[in-house]
């Protein structure tokens, strides 16, 4: 991990100076948004495949059961191996990934017995594993930071404070030994207290003690005045490393195996026949989902991470039919949700409305006594903002949005009505019953339409010049007749 962090820092330094980086990396907002965006990229990309494979809720199940993996790995670590409790140990990550795969395998086993449907199998397995985890936590894990709050919400807001420092220049660590000229030596009386005498007493014996010996990190050395130049340090938030690594792995996985994933997602049988091992890809995907779930555990909690996996891909799915576009849109939507979500947690909606104003207005209107300062969970607000973006996509999506679908439906209904009336006129015009069938006043009764609908249709047809009304009887104009004939031709209707 340390080497990787170094790499990240060096990469960053290609673009900016340490003086520019440090304020950015110690800004709570920037770090939280950055971390949220990284989770959104991982979740958004993997979520697209989950959604297309009909496994959207598997991420929900896995995000619950990684807790079991973490707890079991933790107990093994402290109980069996006798290691010190450490929540950032890689062993926990291995445990979580194993638990994720276990969830999927157990579900598939139960489903394959043929006795239980897939949804019920999932609904059996993950509450069971989660229940076991909760029992283990409450029975065996005391005084450790696996409490309910971190399970639920995470601590993305505090990510900036938990850093490793990386030294770039003047990285002189200093060790001072008693022989060093800089050592400050003092004399200490060895037997004064025992003999109850003063140090001035001739019987007193002395020994030399070094007051400032020891190891100094570069920063400490500079502070103590042992080095002349201030070391250049970069403070790197630890959680960025984990999520950064996961993002690289996820993107690498998807870019390298794009073709294979696409094929096995849309046609698993063909993929198998061509020798692409869709089973392996399936489990690799599940391992990645588990890894991201556990990597995001600290930051956003085990349940809210589901929002990062499901909502952005669902929004992207409403916007496009193309896998490549979806894979781009989904992380962008997630990252945008993370960006505006941080502001929402601090009480500002898109920078347009202040929550405190809303709460104050509510207090005035309803007479309630709500606290007017809105300060809420950052991760939950990020999820909420993703939902807001989802709703936006739902409404305005050009092809599948509610607006465009209802507009298209209305247009089709109009077209249908027009054709019906035109055909009716075409059929009865010039025949004996024309006077009866084509009277504008009673036309709606023949078709059993509401009067208003018929009036609207007739108005429209007259406006387009396809019919005209003479003495209360509707006639087709030549253009109208052309319309009907074109329609009949297009639909191959015989006379």
């Amino acid at each position: 991990m340390g080497a990787l962090e170094d790499l990240f820092v060096r990469l960053l330094l290609l673009f900016a100076t340490p003086e520019a980086i440090n304020p950015v990396l110690s800004d709570p907002r920037t770090v939280a948004v950055l971390l949220g965006a990284l989770i959104a990229v991982c979740g958004g990309v993997l979520g697209v495949y989950l959604l297309l494979r009909g496994m959207a809720l598997t991420s929900d199940a896995i995000s619950h059961t990684v807790l079991l993996g973490i707890v079991v790995a933790f107990l093994v670590m402290t109980g069996l191996l006798g290691l010190p409790p450490d929540l950032s140990s890689p062993l926990l990550i291995v445990g979580a990934a194993a638990a994720g795969v276990l969830t999927v395998v157990l579900t598939e086993l139960i489903e394959r017995s043929g006795l239980v449907k897939q949804d019920a199998a999932l609904g059996l397995v993950f509450p069971l594993l989660f229940a076991v985890a909760v029992i283990l936590v409450s029975r065996y894990v005391d005084n450790v930071h696996i409490d309910t709050d971190s399970v639920l919400v995470g601590e993305i807001g505090m990510a900036w404070a938990n850093t490793n420092s990386h030294c770039l220049e003047h990285c002189e660590a200093v060790t001072i030994t008693p022989d060093d000229p800089r050592a400050v030596l003092t004399r200490q009386c060895v037997n004064c207290r025992a003999l109850n005498i003063s140090p001035r007493d001739p019987r007193a014996e002395f020994r030399e003690v070094c007051a400032n010996c020891g190891m100094y990190t570069p920063a400490q050395a500079y502070q103590a005045g042992l080095t002349s130049a201030a070391p250049t340090l970069v403070f790197w938030p630890k959680s960025l490393t984990v999520m950064g690594l996961l993002t690289l792995v996820t993107l690498g996985f998807v870019l390298l195996l794009y073709k294979e994933l696409k094929l096995s997602t849309f046609d698993a049988a063909l993929a198998a026949a061509l020798g692409f091992r869709p089973g392996m890809l399936h489990y690799a995907l599940m391992v990645l989902v588990s890894l991201v779930a556990v990597g995001a555990f600290d930051a956003v909690g085990s349940i809210l991470v589901v929002a990062f996996f499901i909502i952005p891909p669902a929004a992207a799915y409403l916007l496009t039919d193309r896998l490549g576009v979806m894979l781009l849109l989904s992380p962008v939507i997630g990252a945008a949700g993370a960006y505006w979500g941080y502001d929402l947690a601090r009480g500002s909606v898109f920078g347009l409305v202040e929550m405190s104003d809303v709460l104050a207005a509510l207090n005035r209107a309803l007479g309630t006594q709500l606290i007017e300062r809105w300060d809420s969970s950052i991760s939950a607000s990020m999820a909420l903002m993703m939902f807001v973006l989802f709703v936006a996509a739902l409404v305005i999506s050009p092809r599948y949005g509610l607006v465009s679908v209802s507009l298209r439906r209305a247009a089709m209904r109009q077209q249908f009505d027009d054709q019906v009336i035109l055909a009716h006129l075409y059929r009865h015009e010039g025949a004996a019953e024309a006077a009866d069938e084509l009277a504008v006043a009673t036309l709606h009764e023949h078709l059993r339409w509401p009067r208003g609908r018929m009036q609207r249709v007739l108005l429209r047809l007259r406006a387009w010049g396809w019919i005209q009304v003479e003495a209360g009887i509707a006639h087709l104009t030549p253009q109208g007749r052309q319309q009907v004939e074109a329609f009949r031709e297009a639909h191959l209707l015989q006379t």
Binding site: L51, G54, M55, A56, L57, D60, H64, I110, S113, L115, V116, K117, D119, A120, L122, G123, L124, P127, L128, F130, A131, V132, V134, I135, S138, R139, T148, L152, V153, I303, L304, V306, A307, F309, I310, I311, A314, Y317, L318, T368, L370, I371, R373, W374, D375, S376, S377, S379, A380, S381, M382, A383, L384, M386, F387, F390, L394, Y400, L402, V405
Partner: protein, 400 residues
């Protein structure tokens, strides 16, 4: 009543009896003392188990098991809003939870019917968004200076110990009302569960009925929040249904059995959690329910995995015996008459892995006997082999 029916009702009685007997057993063997709290919690768990078991059966059959998960999570913002508006009164909080969760049902339904999103995605979106709203609200509420909000987050994991007698009465009353509705629309619910198209074609208001049924499931979830919490509620909702499904093909019997199994899981889980102060109630209930499921999957008559395995093994033996018998008969006939001996090495060489199984079964059935390194057909054996040959079942089924 047919034999199957007797068996199912017997099973229902047996589970109920086991549950009742568990009370003295736990006192005697586990050292559980029945104080007032435990009695309340165990009773509450049992009643809740009945309600969620019966209603959950429908979710299982309609392949909407995970809707329980989505709706339980979706209840959380309702708790927050209700608290902000009306304070900490359990019935108000539950109504808030119900409203939020019902809105969730409605949105899931809307997304599934009006967009191209599949049901699982719609459930996931609602689950995540509603839960996030709930967490955001609870975090905001927790910033209040007074302590009035204490314990609101117990809705997330459940807090059985906080249950009082009035809560049990509430659960019973509301659950009873839900049952009345269920019985009143039994036929309709049955229809939309098994054949929606038929119901729609016959003019039943399918959309409305579906919403009513979902509302009943919401009721069960909301009642269970206090005991099991939003995360584990789905286990309590569907596990009894899945277990009961293994024992019967009748909806009525399944619902009854699921109710009894739910009661068993709720009661026994609550009692078991009293064994140690550190055992949380909700998870214990879910584990007991899951054990019921696994037992049912293994041992249910006809469908059970254990029976299927035994059946498979018996089949394997039968086929092996048939093949070996044909081999023996053919070899003996070609080498001096049906009753002459066949070398053991020949059978094993020809039949491979099947040989020992088949030989053992044939010998046990008295169709062959061993004489040194040879096998001879007995008189019954010859008769069986001739019969098999005549009916065309012998040997390699048409290869010779």
């Amino acid at each position: 009543m047919g034999r199957d029916e007797v068996r199912v009702w017997g099973g229902i009685l047996a589970v109920a009896l086991l549950g009742v007997l568990f009370v003295p057993f736990s006192e005697w063997a586990l050292g559980v003392t029945y104080d007032h709290t435990l009695r309340t919690v165990a009773l509450g768990g049992a009643v809740l188990g009945v309600v969620s078991g019966v209603l959950g059966s429908f979710a299982v059959l309609r392949r909407e098991s995970l809707i329980g998960d989505a709706l339980a999570h979706a209840a959380l913002p309702g708790v927050g809003v209700a608290f902000l508006l009306a304070g900490r009164e359990l019935s108000v909080l539950l109504i808030g939870a119900g409203v939020a969760s019902w809105l969730g049902v409605y949105v899931i339904h809307l997304l599934t019917s009006r967009t191209r999103l599949k049901q699982d995605v719609a459930m996931g979106v609602v689950l995540a968004a509603w839960f996030a709203a709930g967490i955001a609200l609870l975090t905001y509420i927790q910033a209040r200076p007074d302590a009035s909000q204490a314990g609101l987050s117990s809705f997330i994991f459940g807090q059985a110990a906080a249950m009082v007698e009035r809560d049990v009465q509430l659960i019973s009353a509301v659950g009873g009302a839900a049952f009345v509705v269920l019985l009143a629309f039994w036929k309709e619910f049955k229809l939309i569960t098994f054949d929606v198209e038929f119901a729609a074609a016959n003019g039943f208001p399918v959309v409305l009925l579906r919403l009513v049924l979902s509302t009943l499931i919401v009721v069960a979830i909301v009642l269970g929040l206090q005991l099991a919490g939003v995360i584990l509620m789905v286990g309590l909702l569907i596990a009894p249904g899945v277990a009961a499904r293994q024992w019967t093909h009748h909806l009525g019997q399944m619902a009854a059995l699921a109710g009894v199994m739910g009661a068993f899981a709720g009661g026994v889980g609550a009692i078991l959690s009293a064994v140690d102060r550190k055992l949380p109630t909700g998870p214990m209930i879910v584990i007991v329910a899951a054990l019921l499921v696994f037992a049912s999957l293994a041992f249910a008559p006809g469908r059970g995995l254990v029976w299927a395995m035994l059946r498979q093994r018996a089949d394997q033996k039968r086929y092996a015996a048939r093949h070996v018998l044909a081999d023996l008969y053919k070899y003996a006939s070609d080498h001096g008459g049906a009753s002459s001996g066949v070398p053991d090495a020949f059978v094993r060489g020809v039949r491979g892995g099947e040989a020992p199984i088949g030989l053992a079964k044939l010998q046990r059935d008295g169709l062959i006997q061993a004489s040194g390194t040879h096998w001879t057909l007995t008189r019954e054996g010859i008769r069986a082999a001739e019969q098999a040959e005549r009916s065309g079942q012998g040997g390699d089924d048409g290869r010779t």
